[in-house]
Symmetry: C2
Subunit: 154 residues, 2 copies
């Protein structure tokens, strides 16, 4: 029996919106969701058909998702076309990657700011700018702590 396509479309939209918060483009989020909801791995042509985008577009979309380890290629004997499927461990997949991205960034920037501080502070101990810089560094430290706290026990 056929499931109402409007409901499915709504579902795809709703979930895609959440994925966009993980810095996926709207198109990539839709592509992931469609693949995720599909019961079997899909070919480029099927995804092109379902998304209404050209095969080239789907191809680059799949490449984006693969780079993010959100999609993997699977083989099925007798099938010549490339088949793709999603990683189904949603939370692990998205959230832990996301937290790591934040942690990596904050640690990086904190180090950069420390270097800048070294450059400035040696010469301009009392400048207001040094105070601002210290606030920025403290900000990064707080961010780091918050995200570290959120990190799941891995």
């Amino acid at each position: 029996m056929d499931i109402d396509q409007n409901i499915i479309a709504n579902l795809i939209n709703t979930f895609s919106q959440t994925l966009e918060m993980f810095d996926l483009s709207s198109a990539d989020a839709r592509l992931f969701t469609i693949l995720y909801l599909n019961h079997q791995p899909m070919t480029l042509d099927e995804m092109s058909q379902t998304t209404g985008k050209s095969k080239t577009t789907v191809n680059t979309g799949i490449r984006n998702l693969s780079d993010l380890n959100l999609v993997k290629q699977v083989w099925k004997k007798g099938v010549r076309k490339d088949l793709y499927t999603t990683d189904h461990a949603l939370y692990q997949c998205f959230m832990s990657t996301y937290i790591n991205k934040w942690l990596g960034h904050t640690v990086n920037q904190e180090e950069s700011l420390a270097k800048i501080k070294a450059q400035l502070a040696s010469q301009y101990k009392d400048e207001l700018i040094v105070n601002k810089l210290n606030e920025m560094i403290a900000f990064h430290t707080s961010l780091k702590n918050s995200f570290a706290q959120m990190k799941p026990t891995t």
Copy 2:
């Protein structure tokens, strides 16, 4: 004494990159940073000068930042031009807004998914799609918990 402009430029770039992670555009992030680092409130003309963008662009940028409560207008007697300054409580300003955004979104989407589930589940109890939907809902619940845990004691 003049602080090396290269160092300042580097500082602006570094901090702006962090702000971009809070979904600010590159231009808005730079504008905020410049305003944040400035010792006094700034006028549109000054910001236009400093950013190298037109006054119109700065104007819309300031409007964006104001909408996000990142910038406020201040008055100083004798000064005819509008003066703007940043909120200097960086963590509170950015992080708590960010967490609230996530929480708001996840709660919203979770409700939407619950409605979709009601529509589907009444008719198609055993469809695979319902399982997927349940996974999605569980995902949102996990997200909600993670961000709620991160929420500072307010």
